[in-house]
């Protein structure tokens, strides 16, 4: 048995390479800055049951949502999957987190058998909705955010479904970028299939399947060992947001370990919100396990074994599992960190202070700019996240932001007509970024959570704090300046 683990490691490393190549390809060729700069996407190889064989994650929210979306796709098309199909879904109520993030899987057949399949989950630049981009801070239902893409075939038996393709692209204000990104995803997955075929030619299906199974088990063993330090006690914790925006929102958690399973029970969390402050179960699960895994993410490859030791109990009709058609577009940004905070609060109340992530922050001011609605057919949104709150490590961006990159000030000026006048730490050790619109009249959706307990940061328009921190279509004429202030580390802690 020991010897086969070594062989499995070797074969499995080839499968990891496939996912890693997919990730690099997408990063280098995507149009959407959310992919190429912020790396808010994931690339994976899935088993025939849509379990994770390997996943490369740019951002934590994909941990459960890629494979849950893929499972929805496989369930939906259960008896209707054939070679050459490209399955897509972008639906928070089909395993995802928000409707602008699409999951694509190309089922792979080998000797007539469905085996392992490459998949990508990535945010698209714009797919309809009331406003360009991803940020609609006053949405009350999903339809205001974007179209809802329930499971559908983009390609059927290798033939592009032009009606589907047209439907998606014509509902986008950035159709060329969207089409390009879809083609990138398809091309990347198809290339991955060729790579997987090479692996299968080299080693047979059984060996590869066995290697994946063994390494999933290996990963599970490692994670269980890490979790075993949580003794057979019950840990309870909570985290609450008190804001003008949505009164009080709480995530409550009870953590128990039973055998090798860690039960994370989120009962008692606040009822779902009529605002976009809702997080789907996939997103909730991703953020809930994050504090436990943060310390070992670098040592292990993400696969099904990493998430198998966790059992999540997520109450329906809560902010962690909202009913259809609740709006969700701020769930990842706001509720996700709330969940992780509840978990870390629970753990720190116990004996595990040094083992797991101490606290994970991330809520910050953000904006999405676009040309005045109706002024142009192609209205490519500019997602403006020019800074970050200092992380729990005391430097750099927080963990929950994943692999994100700040935009270059020079590139932002050249490509978007936005001039960063200042990006520095002020005397309070807060990052301050001041941006000037130098090129064309714009409008913006802004969001800042007005937390009454902690300093949440600030957004100033022309030097004055925005009166409405969830403003829509605020005018940003040429010459207007937007200042983002990010809280320092101490201000993020209670």
């Amino acid at each position: 048995m020991k010897k086969t683990l070594i062989h499995s490691q070797i074969i499995y490393s080839k499968v990891i390479s496939v996912a890693a190549e997919m990730y690099e390809r997408m990063r280098h060729t995507a149009n959407s800055p959310a992919i190429s700069e912020q790396e808010s996407f994931a690339a994976a190889v899935l088993t025939a049951e849509a379990d994770l064989a390997v996943q490369i994650n740019g951002e934590p929210s994909h941990l459960f949502s890629l494979r849950n979306s893929a499972k929805h796709l496989f369930q939906y098309f259960a008896y209707d999957i054939q070679e050459g199909d490209v399955l897509v879904v972008a639906d928070p109520f089909s395993g995802g987190t928000d409707p602008q993030t699409i999951t694509m899987i190309i089922p792979m057949f080998y000797d007539g058998q469905l085996i392992i399949s490459p998949a990508i989950r990535a945010p698209l630049l714009d797919v309809a909705g009331e406003y360009p981009g991803h940020l609609h801070p006053q949405a009350t239902d999903i339809w205001q955010q974007s179209i809802r893409l329930t499971p559908i075939k983009l390609y059927r038996a290798g033939i592009l479904q032009k009606d589907v393709y047209s439907f998606i692209s014509r509902n986008s204000r950035a159709p060329e970028s969207l089409k390009s990104d879809l083609q990138c995803m398809v091309g990347t997955c198809r290339h991955a299939i060729q790579s997987i075929e090479h692996i299968l030619h080299r080693y047979n299906i059984d060996m590869v399947s066995e290697a994946i199974s063994e390494m999933i088990l290996y990963t599970r063993t490692r994670v269980e060992k890490t979790l075993s330090v949580i003794s057979n006690n019950t840990y309870k914790g909570s985290a609450t947001l008190r804001s003008d925006y949505d009164s009080e929102l709480s995530a409550r958690v009870k953590i128990d370990s039973i055998g090798n399973k860690l039960i994370i029970n989120l009962d008692g969390s606040t009822r779902y919100s009529d605002s976009p402050l809702n997080l789907t179960p996939s997103g909730t699960s991703s953020f809930a396990v994050l504090p436990f895994l943060a310390g070992i993410f670098d040592d292990l490859t993400i696969n099904e074994g990493m998430i198998a030791p966790f059992e999540l109990i997520i109450p329906p009709d809560s902010i962690l599992n909202p009913p259809y058609p609740a709006a969700t577009n701020l769930g990842v940004r706001v509720i996700g960190p709330l969940v992780t905070e509840a978990i870390t609060n629970a753990l720190q109340l116990g004996q595990n202070n040094d083992l797991f992530a101490k606290s994970i922050h991330g809520s910050k001011p953000t904006a999405c700019l676009f040309q005045p609605v109706g002024s142009t057919r192609n209205n490519i949104p500019i997602s403006l996240d020019p800074g970050f709150s200092i992380s729990e490590q005391g430097w750099g961006a927080p963990l929950i932001e994943g692999m994100t990159r700040l935009p270059s000030a020079e590139e932002l000026e050249v490509h978007q007509g936005l001039r960063i006048l200042l990006r520095e730490l002020n005397d309070e050790h807060r990052m301050v970024v001041r941006v000037l619109n130098i090129q064309r009249p714009l409008e913006g959706n802004f969001f800042l959570l007005g937390d009454t307990e902690r300093y949440p940061g600030a957004i100033l328009l022309n030097g004055a704090a925005l009166s409405d921190l969830t403003s829509l279509c605020t005018s940003v004429p040429v010459g207007a300046s937007i200042e983002f202030v990010y809280p320092n580390l101490a201000e993020q802690q209670i």
């Binding site: 020991k2 010897k3 683990l5 070594i6 062989h7 490691q9 070797i10 490393s13 080839k14 390479s17 190549e21 690099e24 390809r25 990063r27 280098h28 060729t29 995507a30 149009n31 800055p33 700069e37 060329e176 390009s180 083609q183 990138c184 091309g187 990347t188 198809r190 990963t219 063993t221 490692r222 060992k225 943060a294 310390g295 993410f297 670098d298 040592d299 992530a357 970050f388 490590q393 005391g394 750099g396 961006a397 963990l399 932001e401 692999m403 994100t404 990159r405 700040l406 270059s408 000030a409 020079e410 590139e411 050249v414 001039r419 006048l421 200042l422 990006r423 520095e424 730490l425 990052m431």
Partner: protein, 691 residues
């Protein structure tokens, strides 16, 4: 009268020298590296001189060129031993260096410490000035605040200042003015301007690269000056060049100003030598691998052109100058084998180094390493290591593997050693696979060139794993980087951001920019007498509109002026390359140009490698011994050859082992080797191994 060219490469353990005579003779040697690298340099020259029965002075006086690959700047950065450095930048941007555009080496590790601050915050000062993306001055330079900043740095006794203003690559006047003020107030200080070091868009990358230059510059300048002076004192009247990370060499005057170009120059020598050997041996497409004690360096040469990258991080600092794309992983002869928490066998990245070294070194190390596995399996003869200069303790190797791996995994010592080599070979194969496929290449289309002390022990297995048909182990592989230094051409790389849509390209501007870069490049290469024969290569970094990353596309034409036909072909090449690398192209999508790059190579007159006629195929005269070697769990009695005795034309079917000073070449079952006309071992590979 014969003259000599010396290539001298300083490594972590050894300083290598290759002496090339004008009559074609080549001598080589290794001496231990010294903390003052120039000592090792002189020791190596003396060793060669002694071998030639000459004294140092007379040998140096007949040496017309010394090319030196030094790790002074690399070590200074990696160990954070550079000089006290200040940064003057546009007001409001003094923390860009610290923000790093939010990049972190590990996103999820909650205990990751920040990089060592080579310019701490109190030495990073902003001055009032602002230039926009067109080069227009929005805020004139506030000379008074600038003087204050300089005086502040002076009071802190900085030895080096980096000057980085926004959009200086479009309009450098403010940076030049600040430099004048610095010279006025601090005439002795070392100055680095971002508009000179890296005149490209993206302020963080430009600032980081310039700061690194400032940080290590005085050290390399001082070292080269001292070395040059000492060489002159000892009778050297020729030219002293320095190896660069772009694979070429440069005068010490230029290297002293552009210290950043000398970072990671050591491995570049090996890649340069590989291209040289590839030309003669008839293999223009190579994957080069250099496996030393600690690390494994992989690079790709396509059509004799090494691939270049601008995405390097060194010592956790971004250095965005074009350098040879050498991918490094922690895999070497000293890589330690260990069992992880899940019972998996891991090898590296931690290394036993040279001290204590592998268990078989007998210096107190008891962790099993790759070298220990190689000894146990019979690949390495404990009594022939480094030509017998060092005797390895096979028992210690066996004990380390048995106790720390075998007992844990329930495997025999031999199976444990095989497992160690399987894992490390797999790690190295994956690294090779990554380097080739990220550029759209198929490794099976390449020949593998193995160098470094341990490279040729494992190369045969890696080639099988990747489906590569041929492995070359070059003659002089133990001193390959020094060989590369000896043959490298002078080279400068000029870059310039020129942002435009391809449809809006102005040929006059394009040609004018390239011409300026050419003149600057020639000026940088003017202060030498070695060559006046220059070769030009022009490259345009392009991308589809909306993408963030560029693809560098060479302009195929060599006409003085770039024509619209050249641009048409350039665009076609871009689509083709994009599809090759990323499996995706869109000929309907707009393209934009971001950066121009000009490579100016000063072709040196070097000796031609003389092809030696083939002798007989029979290689029995080279047989030294035989021994039991484990290519699998069952040993095979394997013939061992003395590499020195083999001649061109000799043919050896595997399994076999060829022992040379400084390296061992393993020919696995199903493989066969031919000694070619240049004394390279050319190994033909059979089918892929079965697990």
């Amino acid at each position: 009268m014969t003259t000599w060219t010396l290539g001298i490469d300083v490594g972590g353990t050894f300083t290598d020298i290759v002496a090339i005579c004008s009559d074609g003779a080549i001598e080589s040697a290794k001496v231990p590296s010294t903390s003052d690298q120039s000592e090792g340099v002189f020791n190596s020259i003396e060793k060669i001189a002694s071998r030639l029965n000459r004294d140092l002075g007379s040998f140096l006086s007949s040496t017309e060129l010394i090319v030196h690959g030094t790790t002074v700047s690399t070590n200074a950065l990696l160990e954070y031993q550079g000089v006290k450095t200040g940064l003057i930048t546009t007001e409001g941007f003094r923390d860009e260096l610290e923000f790093r555009r939010a990049y972190k080496e590990s996103v999820f590790n909650p205990r990751l410490a920040p990089p060592h601050a080579i310019v701490p915050r109190y030495l990073r000062l902003g001055v009032k000035e602002r230039i926009d993306h067109t080069g227009k001055i929005l805020t004139p330079l506030d000379v008074s605040s600038c003087r204050d900043a300089i005086n502040q740095l002076k009071s802190k006794q900085v030895e080096s200042i980096a000057i980085c203003c926004l959009f200086s690559f479009v309009n450098p006047t403010h940076e030049l003015h600040i430099a004048d003020l610095v010279r006025e107030i601090m005439p002795e200080v070392y100055i680095s301007l971002s508009s000179e070091i890296l005149p490209e868009i993206r302020e963080f990358e430009r600032t980081s690269t310039t700061v690194v230059n400032a940080y290590v510059g005085p050290l390399i300048a001082g070292y080269l000056d001292s070395l040059h002076t000492n060489l002159r004192k000892n009778g050297f009247t020729g030219e002293l060049f320095v190896m660069q990370s772009n694979g070429g060499v440069q005068t010490i005057a230029e290297a002293s100003k552009r210290a950043v170009d000398t970072l990671l120059s050591g491995p570049a020598g090996g890649v340069t030598a590989s291209a040289y050997i590839g030309r003669y041996a008839g293999y223009p497409d190579l994957i080069t691998v250099d496996m030393g004690g600690t690390s494994y360096d992989v690079s790709v040469i396509q059509d004799l052109q090494p691939t270049v990258t601008t995405e390097t991080w060194i010592g956790r600092y971004r250095t965005a100058v074009p350098m040879l794309d050498i991918h490094t992983i922690g895999a070497g002869g000293g890589s330690i084998a260990w069992i992880d928490e899940g019972g998996g066998l891991q090898v590296g990245p931690r290394s036993a180094g040279a001290t204590p070294g592998p268990a078989c070194y007998g210096r107190g190390g008891d962790d099993p390493t790759v070298t220990d596995a190689d000894v146990v399996l019979g690949y390495i003869d404990p009594h022939s290591f480094l030509g017998g200069e060092m005797v390895l303790d096979a028992d210690k190797a066996e004990n380390a593997i048995a106790s720390k791996i075998g007992e844990e995994l329930g495997l025999s010592t031999i199976d444990s050693a095989l497992a160690i080599t399987d894992i490390i070979n797999n790690n190295m194969s994956n690294a090779m696979h990554f380097v080739t496929t990220k550029r759209g290449y198929d490794p099976r289309d390449f020949t593998l060139l193995a160098m470094g002390g341990a490279g040729s022990v494992h190369a045969g297995r890696q080639a099988e794993d990747l489906g590569i048909a041929t492995v070359i182990v070059p003659n002089l592989s133990p001193v390959f980087c020094a060989l590369g230094d000896g043959f490298a051409n002078l080279k400068v790389t000029e870059t310039k951001t020129y942002y435009t849509r391809a449809d809006d390209l102005d040929l006059n501007i394009l040609n004018s920019l390239f011409r300026e870069m050419e003149l600057r490049g020639k000026d940088r290469l003017s202060n030498q007498a070695t060559t006046s024969n220059f070769e030009l290569r022009r490259i345009v970094a392009m991308r589809y509109v909306g993408e963030v990353h560029e693809v560098p596309v060479p302009i195929r034409s060599r006409t003085l002026r770039i024509t619209s036909l050249n641009i048409t072909n350039l665009i076609k090449d871009f689509h083709r390359l994009h599809e090759k690398i990323f499996a995706h192209k869109d000929e309907n999508q707009s393209i934009e140009i971001l950066t121009l790059r000009l490579e100016l190579t000063g072709i040196r007159r070097t000796i031609d490698l003389a092809a030696i006629p083939f002798e007989k195929e029979d290689s029995s005269h080279g047989i030294k011994s035989d021994r039991q070697v484990y290519f699998s769990s069952d040993p095979i009695n394997t013939t061992v050859y003395d590499g020195k005795k083999l001649k061109p034309g000799n043919f050896i079917p595997g399994p076999a082992i060829i022992e040379q000073w400084g390296t061992t070449i393993v020919i696995y079952p199903g493989q066969e080797v031919l000694i070619d006309s240049y004394n390279n071992c050319v190994i033909e590979i059979g089918s892929a191994i079965e697990l």
